[in-house]
């Protein structure tokens, strides 16, 4: 050490100085204020999330507790009953909801995906009409469901289509209601397919439709399916527009799609039961909510499973 010249000595000193500064700096940690702020912020975030989840949990629990005395399989197999609400069930309403939703699927999937494909793959965005269509879809997604009910009443049940108060009219109304959501979700799924896949296909001499049909769509299916299920589960829970397009409340047989002898749906029945004077019906309504939540949860879980199972990571 002693052999070191003065220059080297100065270098060593400087290094030691820098080191001590650094040491202090990296060990000192952040100012306490920052740490506290960060902790509080994090706690608030957790609180926000927790409250939101708590709301969901409370909702489910509340319904389950209120309806617990009626929670049994009978709920799924028995018909509505005015005489003995204790043994009443939602069989026909569930069946009606299934038919309604089936109709929604049959209509929204091709039309929604078709629209999404058109907008994403074909439409030239420099053309004003395509922009109008896009804008229009965004607007429709925000239109209140009750307004769709009015539309359904004026245009589908009566007016131009004049279908009458049949289940199919309800299906169409709900389809129109969720179509914008389905289109938006499908567009997102299609957009998530990287352009390189399209380029690869075009470069092999595939036409546009071949590219869409063989590459883009298969890759977008999980995303589309998820979007569709989430949209459809919203349709399944809608009450207000169905009231307007004439879902009857007391039906003791399984409805048909085109039959003009009335139909009902699960949320409509729940609503109706809850309004009754007799407390037995209130229990029935709570039990119905549990059934409804079960259906929604099932559909959502399926969507999530689909997403996690088939999601393509690019």
């Amino acid at each position: 050490m002693a052999a070191l010249g003065p220059q080297a000595e100065r270098t060593r000193l400087a290094a030691a100085g820098a080191r001590s500064v650094t040491r202090a700096a990296i060990l000192s940690g952040q100012p306490l204020k920052d740490i506290i702020k960060g902790r509080i912020f994090f706690a608030l975030l957790l609180l926000a999330l927790g409250l939101a989840l708590l709301g969901l949990a409370a909702l489910i629990l509340d319904a389950a507790i209120d309806g617990r005395s009626m929670l049994s399989l009978d709920l799924l197999t028995n018909s509505a009953s005015r005489i003995s609400p204790q043994t009443a069930g939602y069989a026909n309403a569930i069946y009606g909801t299934i038919l309604l939703i089936g109709g929604v699927l049959v209509m929204t999937v091709p039309i929604g995906v078709g629209s999404a494909i058109y907008l994403e793959e074909y439409a030239d965005r420099t053309k004003w009409w395509n922009r109008v269509v896009e804008l229009n879809i965004q607007n429709l997604a925000a239109v209140p469901s009750i307004v769709y009910g009015i539309l359904g009443l004026a245009f589908i049940v009566r007016g131009p289509l004049d279908l009458g108060f049949i289940l199919f009219a309800g299906s169409i109304t709900l389809s129109l209601l969720v179509l914008p959501t389905v289109i938006i979700a499908a567009r997102e799924a299609i957009r998530a397919v990287p352009p390189s896949i399209r380029e690869g296909s075009f470069a092999l001499g595939a036409t546009r439709w071949q590219t869409v049909r063989r590459q883009v769509l298969p890759a977008a299916v999980p995303g589309i399916a998820t979007g569709v299920i989430l949209a459809v589960s919203r349709a399944a829970g809608e009450t207000a527009p169905l009231l307007l397009v004439g879902a009857a409340t007391f039906v003791t047989f399984d409805p048909t799609v085109f039959g003009d002898n009335g139909y009902t749906a699960l949320p409509v029945m729940i609503f109706n039961n809850a309004k009754q004077a007799q407390p037995e019906f209130h229990v029935l309504a709570a039990a119905g909510i549990v059934v409804m939540l079960g259906v929604i949860l099932l559909m959502n879980s399926f969507a999530i499973w689909l997403r996690n199972r088939y999601e393509q990571r690019w």
Partner: protein, 297 residues
């Protein structure tokens, strides 16, 4: 190497067989005379320019691409190499707002003529991209995609096998043709993309920085492959790697960014186009020399 040669040989034989009639002589290697004037031209570009939404990206490019050559496009980032390459098989048609000007002949025919069908063009002129972009399907389906959409469903297995052999990938994947292409390494994926391209039997292959995402070993394999493939196809390759251009290409075009006086507009233009050796050892322009010697860029 001996093995490679015999592989190439067998491939050539396969082609001869496919040619169908024995009377046609398949051109032996030796005839690839380098007398430029006489050589068959695949592309002739005359004052080609491209605009994106009205803004010029490249301007006034004139050059000829010869058959069974590897032609390299080099130049700094943003000089329009990819843009130019994508004109050659009308991939630019897919970009809204892209316009091509000038004349671009393909085997003497105007590639942008009114009766030309871009889909047909892309069948003849294949393309390999910078990032390997296999389809999210099995290896087999990736290669079979092209033949299938062309409606050539007969002898598909054979087509797939010979395409994979040509791309020097067969040995590595023959036991797992049904597994997903995403399970392959980057280099394998890129060779798969080349196989996919070969399977539609194009006339010309365009490659846009095919090795830039790959490790040196994969890169080496693909370079070897290119040299093999040029017996059969004409190849245009974009690369940012000058060593690569020097290693594989026959002719090299050097593009550069031009700025106008107030630096508001910039576009790519062709500085020099010549035999690769000339470009790298004795370029005609100072800017080329600066670039290839690493002084800029």
């Amino acid at each position: 190497m001996a093995q490679d040669e015999s592989r190439a040989e067998s491939r050539r034989e396969a082609r001869e067989a496919a040619a169908g009639r024995a009377g046609i002589a398949v051109r032996p290697q030796e005839f690839q005379a380098h007398a430029a004037g006489l050589r068959e031209k695949v592309f002739e570009l005359k004052g080609v320019g491209v605009r994106y939404s009205g803004v010029a990206a490249v301007k006034e490019i004139s050059l000829d691409v010869h058959r069974n050559d590897i032609t390299a496009l080099i130049g700094p980032s943003g000089c329009g190499k990819s843009t130019l390459l994508r004109c050659l098989n009308r991939m630019n048609d897919l970009i809204p707002g892209a316009e091509v000007e000038g004349r671009l002949l393909y085997h003497g025919e105007d590639l942008y003529g009114p009766s030309v069908d871009p889909v047909q063009v892309r069948k003849l002129i294949g393309m390999v991209f910078q990032k390997p972009n296999p389809f999210p399907k099995s290896i087999y389906d990736n290669v079979a995609f092209g033949p299938r959409i062309l409606g050539n469903k007969e002898g598909l297995d054979q087509t797939v096998e010979s395409a994979l052999r040509s791309a020097a990938l067969w040995e590595e994947v023959k036991d797992r043709l049904d597994s997903n292409a995403f399970g392959l390494s980057g280099g394998q994926q890129q060779r798969l993309c080349i196989a996919r391209c070969i399977a539609v039997q194009p006339d010309t292959i365009l490659m846009d920085e095919p090795c830039s995402a790959l490790d040196p070993i994969s890169t080496g394999k693909i370079e070897d492959l290119m040299i093999e493939l040029k017996e059969e196809f004409s190849i245009v390759i974009v690369t940012h790697n000058m060593q690569q251009a020097a290693r594989v290409s026959d002719r090299t075009a050097f593009l550069m960014v031009e700025l106008d006086a107030d630096e508001d507009n910039r576009w790519g233009h062709l500085v020099e186009y010549d035999e690769t050796e000339k470009i790298f050892t004795n370029p005609a322009h100072k800017r080329t020399e600066d670039y290839v010697s690493g002084k800029v860029g």
